[in-house]
Amino acid sequence: MSAVVIVGAGPAGIRAAQTLVEHGVHPVLIDEASQGGGQIYRRQPANFTRPARQLYGFEARKASALHQTLDALAGQIDYRPGTLVWNAEHGALDTLRDGHAAHLPYQRLIIATGATDRVLPVPGWTLPGVYTLGAAQIALKHQGCAIGERVLFCGSGPLLYLVAYQYAKAGAKVLGVLDSAPFSAQCRALPELLEQPATLGKGLYYRAWLSAHGVPVHQGATLERIEGGQQVQRAVWRKGDQLHDTECDALAFAHALRSETQLADLLGCAFEWSTLNRAWLPRRDQAGRSSEHDVYLAGDGAGIMGADAAEMAGERAALALLQDLGQTVDPQRCRTLEKRLTRIGRFREGLEAAFPFPEHWAEQAPDDLVVCRCEEISVGELRAVVGEGHWEINRAKAHCRVGMGRCQGRMCGAAAAEIIAHCSGKALHEVGRLRAQAPIKPLPFGVEHDA
């Protein structure tokens, strides 16, 4: 009989694997990364020896617990690190590992593919020295190197303060934090945020710590453009009517996260619009069941809820899968998990209110701004195509190649949708979503495979 398979060895995937094993089911766990942990608890390479406390801060205990869980599962699961799932169809996954392609039929599948940064480009964003917040954090966590010596952090979302804090702690010169969200929004969001006092506390702590250590934190400050010749030299930003500039040699920016939904799409899962995430997401019930009877969804890959929720959702999805296989599971545990997830959901709404999407971004984006860096498509080119009547995102892609390049729209898709919606006067959800096409990531010619 074919296996139960989990894609993604982050908090969601690891907890799902653990839960399955506890019930006597031994899954295959696949992750593209060479080591488990996922985005937040990404491990350092084997030859690095920084202590967990230094790498993961407040989350050190959780990170170590998750890593230990994965290590303890050795021998009980078929763990396949360094393995990309590039396609899925008809109840099977197609994988690539060390240049070798393989076909893996599954009986049931849990998709726990996580998220990447949501990027809203500004002029100059393609200059060397400009990173996403996530990439800046990965550089630090994984390789132990900073993206620059004098770094500015911009955008919005909880990751903004966290990464700035981590950089400052690691000894980098943090020139400032530019948060596009106004302070007033964060005050208004306080009731929902209080749903998770510990998480809120951490958020406040990062900000307070930054201020106490002389790092300027500007709220309601938007990045206007990034300037430089060969490399970032200066950021120009606006607060109210005032323009400011800050000299820097590196800059990290992002506006929250976006889910990696391609696998669910390739497998035909039904999608629904999520106002909270400003995205089309695979539909799931409270337990994580998708519209497809053999596909389950857990973690940030099905809507951004953060690492704690990912762990719970992974466990809950695994329990649902076990139930569907006819196993008895503890109903109390299922209810508890669902209740906690609901609570985190409310907190998440608070976060969205506290770090609201910059509604004016699309309107203000200049025509010569590159929106799709793979295909070098400018906002003006995209607007021209929309002006010709192409308001559906896949049609806009067909006409001007936005999202058609190497990254397949995972970098530019969200921004392109915003531009199209604003320019056509349609609601964001009407613009649709870029259809997933294999390969999820580029695939080499000459790849070997078992025919």
Binding site: A398, P442, L443, G446
Partner: protein, 378 residues
């Protein structure tokens, strides 16, 4: 109830065939309504490989194909863009002596049609196209065949039709079609009502339904050619290629990406298709022997489309044998992009002049009704 939309001709399906028919009719001053279920030029016509070649077609298609060749040469004047159309030359490769003999046979048989094919033996092929893999033993070269960007070309035909006065209605599929003895009456799902004495069935892989409704069933099946594109590569391919007997065809666009096709995918539903892992892996494995420069490069995207195939791999073009006013133009078996503009013009001529300039009798829908007629005459 919405008011009647009256026109002389309703064209069902805004692929390259329907859109070019609508354009030709509008240019000749006829009132035309072009009805499209989804978006203009978003099905086969917008997602195909982009090969614009005459070489290799059945001899029966060559007169229309030659006419299409002329139209392609005048693209900017006709549709306002060049559609990245390039007469790059088309190289049909032979992997065995038997295949090369077949290419020689085609060259001889098609000589009167003016394709100006050149046969290249192994040495000539190596000398002129050093990037072709050792596996090729010879080739047939057509200097004026080439390729274009279907994403741009096909919707531009519909846009040009609109600019010439055609009424173009998108998001209007699954209409109820009737004939009241004088005119066709269509009710779209979206609530529109249309009337016209002429109806052109240019509904691509979905055209068999309408034909069947008027008593002309055809054994058409859908097929889904697998397509793949690489990251941008240094410029090497100074000709687009095909392979005798079937194989992996390839072309390189100005941006540097190589587009490859070969093998078949599968249908997701009636309208959507994917190339499928086996076809994709087969291309990735086998392309390198024909195109060694691809070794180590990466494929960034794959796709497919939905195309209609009749058993003899020839299209249906021409008048209905059962319903006056109904014309068909569908079922191009993976090769309708090049010929499509000429088919559209031929259909327009049937409406305006009662006959097309090029012979189309070989493509009559009658060929599928022989047995049916015999049965009913009995």
């Amino acid at each position: 109830m919405s008011p009647w939309i009256e026109s002389e001709v309703i064209v069902m399906g805004a692929g390259i065939v329907g859109a070019s028919a609508a354009l030709a009719l509008a240019r000749r001053g006829h009132s035309v309504t072009l009805l499209e279920r989804g978006f203009c030029g978003a099905q086969s016509s917008g997602v195909n490989y982009g090969g614009v070649r005459r070489q290799g077609r059945s001899l029966a298609q060559l007169p229309l194909s030659q006419r299409a060749h002329q139209i392609w040469g005048e693209l900017p004047a006709l549709i306002g863009i060049d559609g990245e159309y390039l007469r790059s030359g088309h190289l049909k490769l032979a992997r065995s002596e038997a295949d090369f003999v077949a290419l020689q046979g085609y060259e001889a048989a098609s000589r009167d049609h003016g394709l100006d094919l050149q046969l290249l033996d192994r040495a000539a092929l190596r000398a002129r196209y050093p990037w072709v893999g050792e596996i090729a033993v010879g080739a047939s070269y057509c200097a004026d065949d080439g390729h274009a960007n279907p994403r741009l070309v096909s919707p531009a035909f519909a846009r040009a039709a609109r600019q010439q006065g055609a009424r173009v209605i998108e998001q209007a599929g699954d209409s109820r079609v009737e004939h009241d003895g004088q005119r066709f009456i269509l009710h779209t799902q979206s609530g529109l009502r249309l009337r016209a004495p002429w109806l052109l069935n240019c509904a691509g892989a979905w055209a068999a339904d309408l034909a069947a409704q008027f008593g002309e069933p055809v054994p058409m099946e859908s097929g889904h050619p697998a397509m793949l594109v690489t990251e941008p590569l240094p410029w090497v391919m100074n000709a687009s290629t095909g392979v005798e007997g079937g194989g992996i065809y390839a072309r390189q666009v100005a941006r540097g990406n190589c587009v490859l096709g070969g093998g078949r995918g599968f249908a997701l539903d009636a309208q959507r298709a994917r190339p499928g892992q086996s076809a994709v892996l087969a291309i990735l494995r086998n392309a390198v022997e024909l195109y060694p420069f691809l070794a180590g490069t990466q494929a960034i995207r794959t796709w497919s489309g939905t195309e209609g195939y009749l058993p003899d791999h020839e299209p249906v073009i021409g008048a209905s044998t059962t319903q006056p006013g109904l014309l068909h133009g569908f079922g191009f078996a993976g090769a309708g992009f090049q010929i499509g503009p000429a088919v559209g013009e031929a259909l327009a001529e049937l409406v305006c002049d009662g006959a097309s300039r090029q012979p189309i009798e070989a493509f009559s829908i009658r060929r599928f009704q022989v047995r049916h007629d015999l049965a009913s005459n009995h």
